[in-house]
């Protein structure tokens, strides 16, 4: 650990000590709760029922006589819950007084458990899940507690149906591509809208160095719930921003009672899971010799030893590969990484004021040298009951994060993961005297050792996410809610190259500063009333204003000519500077009306009018309606079947919009271009389109929720059909006009799919519980229409967008194998004949890069205090054309480490080989290069990954009592443990359609301890 981190850690530990000492009241007064759990119908004792106090995570299981006891509970008010399979969950508020023993007997009613959860459906509306009509997936704090992970999005992967989570990089702290129910936009964004404590988070702060995750400021352990709103009924209230789904995150609130202090300390190790197979030094030599033999038959070895090695690498003429010190470049860039975190939270309060405070520090050193992520998080959530009917909530999070990056995504010579593939085994990081070796493929400045030690590119982000939420209860059933939220992100990025890394410029520094202010203001009037015991009404009207303003500036300086100081003051020359700002605004009015009759029939209508500054003056406002209904069939008399506890049919239709298309696409603009003779140029770069408006998505969703066999089997199945039209596409203009295209609302894309999830409780006894869960989503995607009568966009590309095919469908020539006679590559032409020279007309369509099936399955075993949870992630049916693999299998020559597959190259007539013969530079005198896009280069990215596992142990009450703690748990968890895949590249988990050696995921094993005082 470096010294700065040590000091910070010490500081934090000191703070922690002070904090614990400063809250002695936490030890003062304790109470006990005990009682018996019985079946309400028969009066029989229920053994093995779960009894919990949710705020402090304390609990017990009932014994054979149905009795339980939880001792040593800090004074306070808690939510007391009892659950057991086949029974409705029992929940009540309980106040523990000091030194008191409270008896709470519970009689459980038979019925469903799963469907009685409360779901949030936007703008503070809460609804019992049993009445919900839309498609929502979610998590509660309890579930999140058991999931290892450092990012909120990680919870969604393989655990929620309909959500495809692709980690864009294995670099700690980097982003995710989250796709809810497929890709519905070709040129617009496909990101869902994230709302944290009522604040609509911005994902627009771009980074030069990394792919940052906008939710880094939200510490996962502080999350109370995550809800994913998927269809128009659930998300429709968010109108023009809802087409890609909505993810609603609420953080924890304080509870009245004694201060609860919770401490979590975690540490672990990390290593790369990259699948990197390259030729051994001898194999590499043979490969090159074969190529030189092609040039001068029989002379290959001589050319290799006497000309190639000395000329390319400055090695002694005549050397054989055995004489040369070789390097395993993968070893040079990787290391044993680590992960450490400390988190501290306190919550408590009285009847009028409740608070939840939290602070944390995380430091993750990646399994690749020089990549590190460190973050400090602080959160204050306070609820103040000002009068009997007026409440104010303040939620504020401050975070400071720093990422010391390496170039991580892209086929660039200065990115270690692709850079090492350019490096043959005969180059080395350093000379014998410790200086850097300059004979690496792209010279000393691109020697990976120089890149990892003499270049640094840190990204520092300070983020504040906060909201003030007043609530005035006008009557018990009518409330006025306000939400004033701010998401502020300030980012500083540097790229520093010292004089060794950049001798030509005498050192170099690029600095980027960006800040983004994103404000959400809304007010709603919420009504919630039940008439005559069976007519339940839930309604709201509201208005909202959102404004996002981003400004940025950057500059570069060179000429440091020393390596002691690297600030702009120490530079001698400015190389560039620029700066700009941008903004959008959104103004909306919305209403929602829910009606439920007797918990059996529900109807929901919602509408929203959205106006945004992004669109043309003639089409600035749009209308987004949705309608939905549900029917609880199991509550009907005629379906009084013993084995069906719940059966609910839901259906809805709605329209949402996508406005992620940049801020000023509708205007006719002349933009700053270059400069000439001191005058800035104005570039006519956009023609006006005053009718431009958002992409519109119409969704039909039908779902069935069920609970069977005394709730041993619960789950749901949904089918959906989503059609997005008015797609924002560039309508091409003739090049001679001086414009490439004009943005227009044209085209249509359709996504159809099935989602299912099933959870089963396989075994439940007093001491043992075993459950399994499985979810999957099958999606197919098709382009129905493009611009006018146009049948393809980017028609010459290997991934054109064509009518009747998926957005990411491939179109490449068919690979016909290697000619066994002479080792040349062969393809099939349009007519199916062998050819050695393909062209654009020989391309044939192939299945898309999209994943056809995503899902996961997991299991949980609980025995006394032990819990084991395991999750497997499955992604099936995606393909990628990995540019690096394609290049390195083809461009044979000095700058190539040699992919392992080259071992299987054609060597002599008669060989049936997957890879053609070795030729200098990959150039065949009478055939096209092997690297030509073809079906050979489409690789399946399907994989099954043992995504994570966690084994935890909660110490029994006796131990807790002896230690004076209210909870003590230890755990060990693992992430990305094993991957099964046929993919040839580094990691199928980060593979995009045209993957470019993205930073592969890393395996992490953590040990942790949770302590509640």
């Amino acid at each position: 650990m470096n010294s700065t981190a040590t000091r910070l850690l010490c500081g934090l530990a000191a703070l922690l000590t002070i904090f614990i000492l400063a809250v002695p009241t936490a030890f003062a007064q304790r109470g006990t709760i005990e009682g018996t759990v019985t079946d309400a119908g028969t009066g029989e004792a229920i053994p093995g029922a779960n009894v919990t106090l949710t705020q402090i995570n304390r609990g017990a299981a009932t014994n054979i006589d149905g009795e339980y006891s939880i001792e040593n509970i800090p004074v306070g008010t808690y939510t007391f819950q009892v659950s057991f399979v086949g029974y409705q969950r029992f929940s009540t508020e309980i106040t523990i007084e000091g030194g008191e023993v409270i008896t709470q007997d519970v009689a459980l009613e038979t019925g469903a458990v799963g469907l009685e959860e409360v779901v949030v459906t936007g703008y503070g509306q809460q609804q019992e899940e049993i009445d919900a009509t839309g498609s929502v997936s979610g998590f509660t704090a309890d579930e999140i507690e058991g999931i290892p992970g450092q990012n909120a999005e990680q919870f969604l992967a393989a655990r929620t149906t309909g959500v495809t989570v692709t980690q864009t990089s294995g670099n700690p702290g980097s982003g995710f591509e989250v796709n809810i129910r497929g890709q519905s936009s070709i040129t617009g964004g496909n990101d869902p809208l994230y709302i944290v404590d009522g604040v609509q988070m911005s994902q627009n702060l771009g980074s030069e160095n990394t792919d940052r995750n906008a939710l880094n400021a939200i510490q996962p352990q502080n999350i109370e719930s995550i809800q994913v709103l998927k269809d128009a009924a659930a998300a429709g209230i968010y109108g023009a921003q809802a087409a890609n789904g909505v993810v609603i995150i609420e953080t924890k609130s304080g509870r009245a009672g004694e201060t609860q202090v919770s401490v979590n300390i975690e540490g672990g190790i990390r290593s790369s899971i990259a699948n990197f197979d390259n030729l051994s030094p001898q194999e590499w030599a043979n490969f090159n010799i074969d190529a030189f033999n092609e040039l001068a038959p029989g002379q290959g070895e001589a050319i290799f030893r006497n000309s190639f090695l000395p000329n390319q690498y400055g090695l002694e003429p005549g050397s054989t590969i055995d004489d040369i010190r070789t390097t395993d470049w993968r070893d040079r860039i990787t290391r044993n990484g680590s992960h450490r975190s400390i988190r501290l939270s306190a919550s408590g309060g009285n009847e009028t004021t409740q608070y939840f405070l939290s602070g944390g520090w995380t430091n993750t050193q990646a399994g690749v040298r020089n990549a590190q992520f460190e973050t400090f998080n602080f959160r204050t959530n306070v609820t103040q009951q000002l009068t009997d009917n007026f409440r104010l909530r303040l939620n504020a999070a401050i975070s400071d994060e720093k990422q010391t990056n390496i170039c991580q995504d892209g086929f660039f010579i200065n990115c270690p993961w692709s850079g090492i593939q350019f490096e043959p085994p005969v180059t080395r990081p350093r000379n014998d005297d410790g200086t850097f070796f300059s004979g690496t493929t792209f010279g000393q400045s691109n020697n990976q050792e120089v890149i990892l030690t003499q270049i640094s590119s840190p990204t520092a982000v300070t983020q504040i996410v906060g909201s003030i939420r007043p609530r005035l209860e006008i009557t018990p059933w009518l409330a006025l809610n306000g939400n004033f939220g701010l998401d502020y992100q300030q980012q500083n990025e540097k790229d520093i190259e010292n004089t060794i890394a950049n001798p030509g410029d005498g050192g170099f520094l690029d600095t980027d500063n960006n800040d983004l202010t994103n404000m959400t203001l809304n007010s709603t009037l919420n009504l919630n009333k039940t008439f005559g015991e069976v007519h339940s009404v839930n309604a709201l009207i509201g208005g909202e204003y959102r404004r996002e303003f981003e400004s940025g500036s950057s500059f570069g300086v060179i000429g440091f000519n020393q390596d002691l100081l690297n600030v702009p003051d120490a530079a001698s020359e400015v190389t560039f500077f620029n700066g700009s700002n941008t903004e959008f605004r959104l103004l909306s009015y919305f209403q929602n009306f829910d009606y439920t009759y007797d918990n059996r029939y529900s109807l929901q209508l919602s509408t929203r009018w959205d106006g945004t500054s992004r669109f043309g003056t003639e089409n600035q406002f749009g209308f987004f309606p949705s309608v939905s209904a549900s029917w609880n069939i199991a509550r009907e008399e005629f379906l009084n079947v013993g084995f069906i506890e719940e059966l609910k049919l839901r259906g809805n239709w709605g329209q949402t919009g996508n406005s992620q298309i940049g801020n000023f696409p509708a205007r006719g603009l002349f933009s700053t271009g270059g400069t000439f003779e001191g005058q800035v140029g104005l570039n006519p770069d956009q023609l006006a389109n005053p009718t431009l408006t958002w992409e519109q998505k119409r969704t039909i969703n039908i779902g069935l929720d069920f609970a069977l066999l005394r709730n041993r089997i619960t789950g749901s199945v949904e089918v959906f059909d989503e059609t997005t039209d008015e797609l924002l596409l560039g309508r091409p203009l003739p090049t001679s006009s001086g414009f490439g295209s004009i943005d227009d609302n044209v085209g249509e894309v359709e996504n159809r799919g099935i989602e299912f999830q099933v959870e089963t409780v396989n075994l439940q006894t007093e001491e043992f519980r075993w459950s399994t869960r499985f979810n999957g989503t099958i999606i197919s995607n098709q382009v129905n229409e493009l611009v006018g009568d146009q049948d393809a966009l980017f028609s010459g590309a290997t991934r054109p967008v064509e009518v009747g095919r998926p957005i990411e469908g491939w179109k490449v020539p068919r690979w016909a194998g290697v000619n066994p006679a002479d080792g040349r590559p062969m393809w099939l032409d349009a007519d199916g004949n062998i050819t050695y020279q393909t062209d654009v007309n020989d391309r044939v369509p192939f299945d898309g890069a999209e994943r056809d099936l995503v899902g996961g399955f997991g299991t949980t075993l609980q025995w006394q205090g032990l819990t084991l949870d395991a999750l497997f992630q499955l992604q099936y049916g995606g393909t990628t054309e990995p540019e690096t693999i394609q290049f390195f299998l083809w461009e044979q020559g000095p700058f190539n480490s040699g992919i392992g597959m080259l071992r299987e190259r054609w060597k002599e007539p008669g060989d049936i080989a997957p890879v053609p013969r070795a030729v200098p530079g990959g150039v065949f005198p009478n055939a096209q290069g092997f690297g030509t896009s073809s079906t050979f280069h489409l690789w399946d990215t399907s994989f099954l990954r043992f995504k994570n596992v966690r084994l935890g142990y909660s110490f029994p009450d006796q131990v807790l009592n002896a230690l004076g703690l209210s909870d003590l748990r230890v755990y060990v968890s693992g992430e990305n443990l094993v991957t099964w895949s046929s993919f040839i590249g580094l990691d199928p988990g980060v593979a995009n359609p045209e993957t470019e050696t993205s930073f592969p995921n890393e395996r992490q094993i953590n040990f942790g301890i949770n302590l509640n005082i």
Partner: protein, 519 residues
């Protein structure tokens, strides 16, 4: 009491919340939404109706030449396409041009930029509002003349890249075209566009005009520019050849007439260019001791230039990956002069010493690449015309200069224009401190052009306009026996004309592909 205060306090807050809600609902919605503006763009109507807008459009028109497609492709591309330079073994920049790969040409990337520049020019020629014209005063005509000059320059580069060249009245079909093959008799040039695109209605799908129509338009533009420049009050004339001017107009006119084989006109335009250049800018043939400074930006603009794109290293660089300086000298050393090119210089020719350097060293990363450069020419010379003296990979780009005028005069006179062809030819040789000749022939002129004007966008086009095979380095033309080079590209080969990208043809039903390429 406290309770009452608390209640009042909350009452005030409640009222504030309600007021906020009411305010929100009552806002004038569209005005709230319209109050956003991009920070780096202005509306079209402002751009074309203000003085600052016109100045910005003009700067943009010239800035197009800073783009790598208009500098590296335009100036270095024709050298790579012929026998001047060859790719170093571990760099692939422009090797597709060296090899004349299918569909590889200097127009592939430049074509779009050419039309962007033509649209800028059209805005200045007839797109500004009266309001802007009034604000500009005399500068309105000056800008119009500059724009006509730039439009002509861009169109000429376009038509020589995509079309067969005109052959003058002596040829039966008026074209420099092969006797065989699909290019025979193919007379299409490029699209002529003379109106600015201000809305989608202006973006018509126009067909290509014939080579002859395009040349007529170019000559007409240059003549209009010339008379506008002549009539400008002296106060608004430019004093530096960084903007369009009469010397540049006459220089390009001389080049265009040479391509048209209109030799008398070429001769007189070249002479005119030399006269005006000397009087307006003091531009004249450099003497041997000035040759080094000619391409050294720290010593000022090229002393022979009639039109040069000045480049500010801070804001106008084409960048490390694409700048001509990094391709030739400072980083990538991608295109290295062939042994054949080095052999062109007689002993003691100061150009070899001043415009090349036997030092194949990657200044950016500190790697010695001389081994690889010595495969291309024995001493490992790199080209030094562009080597970022101003730093940040930036160089000025010269588009027309005095030496070319002397060579045009010689060629025009050789073909019947009045005067002794040896006279201008020897003027140049004397200025280069090499022996004079008494008889000039076309091969001597072509060799002198290769020695003098290499990497300024000429070599490939010189051979093409004369109907010659395109020379490629082969055998001894490269230093290493391991390098095979390439056979000459026959003049009849379809690749002598660059193809038009399929995507562009798709977007314009009236656009015809060049012969031999798939429509």
């Amino acid at each position: 009491m406290i309770e009452r205060l608390r209640q009042m306090n909350s009452l005030v807050k409640t009222l504030l919340v309600i007021a906020g809600l009411a305010l929100l609902q009552g806002c004038d919605a569209s005005s709230v939404l319209e109050r956003t503006d991009p920070s780096t763009s202005i509306p079209q109507d402002v751009a074309i109706s203000t003085e600052d807008g016109a100045l910005g459009i003009r700067a943009q028109m010239y800035d197009r030449f800073h783009d790598d497609d208009m500098s590296t492709e335009w100036l270095a591309g024709p050298a790579s396409l012929s026998d001047i330079t060859w790719a170093r073994s571990t760099n692939v920049r422009h090797d597709e041009l060296n090899l004349s790969d299918f569909r590889a040409g200097v127009g592939t990337f430049t074509r779009e930029e050419l039309f962007l520049g033509i649209n800028d020019a059209n805005l200045l020629i007839n797109g500004l509002t009266e309001e802007a014209e009034i604000a500009l005063g005399d500068r309105a005509d000056k800008f119009r003349a500059e724009a006509l000059f730039v439009r002509a320059l861009l169109m000429h580069h376009g038509v020589r890249t995509f079309g067969n060249d005109p052959a003058g009245p002596e040829s039966s079909d008026g074209l420099v075209d092969p006797d065989v093959g699909p290019r025979q008799g193919f007379d299409l040039g490029i699209i002529i566009r003379t109106q600015p695109t201000l809305g989608t209605d202006d973006a018509e799908e126009l067909p290509r005009s014939t080579v002859f129509e395009v040349y007529d338009q170019i000559v007409d533009d240059l003549n209009r520019a010339d008379s506008l420049f002549q009539n400008l009050p002296s106060g608004v004339r430019t004093s530096r050849p960084v903007f369009g001017n009469r010397a540049a107009v006459q220089g390009i006119l001389a080049r265009v007439h040479l391509y048209q084989r209109n030799y008398d006109a070429a001769e007189s335009a070249a002479a005119e260019a030399l006269d005006i250049g000397a009087s307006q800018f003091g531009a004249d043939l450099a003497q041997p001791e000035e040759l080094g400074d000619m391409w050294d930006e720290t010593a000022g603009l090229n002393s022979e230039a009639f039109f040069v794109i000045s480049t500010d290293p801070v804001t106008e660089t084409a960048g490390i990956n694409e700048a001509i300086s990094t391709w030739y000298a400072t980083q990538w050393l991608a295109q290295i002069p062939t042994q054949k090119q080095i052999d062109r210089y007689p002993d003691g020719d100061p150009r070899l010493e001043e415009w090349y350097e036997p030092q194949c060293f990657d200044d950016e990363s500190g790697s010695d690449l001389s081994n690889q450069c010595e495969d291309i020419n024995e001493q490992g010379f790199e080209i030094q015309k562009y080597n970022e003296e101003l730093d940040n990979f930036a160089d000025h780009y010269v588009h027309v200069r005095a030496a070319e005028m002397k060579l045009i005069q010689a060629e025009a006179r050789l073909n019947g224009a009045p005067g002794d062809p040896a006279e201008p030819f020897n003027d140049l040789r004397e200025a280069r401190d090499i022996s004079t000749v008494s008889n000039v022939d076309i091969d001597l002129i072509l060799e002198e052009r290769a020695r003098e004007l290499f990497s300024e966008g000429h070599r490939f086009f010189d051979q093409k306009r004369l109907g010659r095979d395109i020379s490629k380095p082969t055998g001894d033309d490269l230093a290493s026996e391991d390098l095979t080079g390439r056979e000459d590209l026959a003049f009849s080969n379809i690749r002598v004309l660059d193809d038009i990208l399929p995507s562009e043809i798709e977007n314009n039903d009236n656009l015809r592909q060049n012969p031999g390429y798939r429509q």
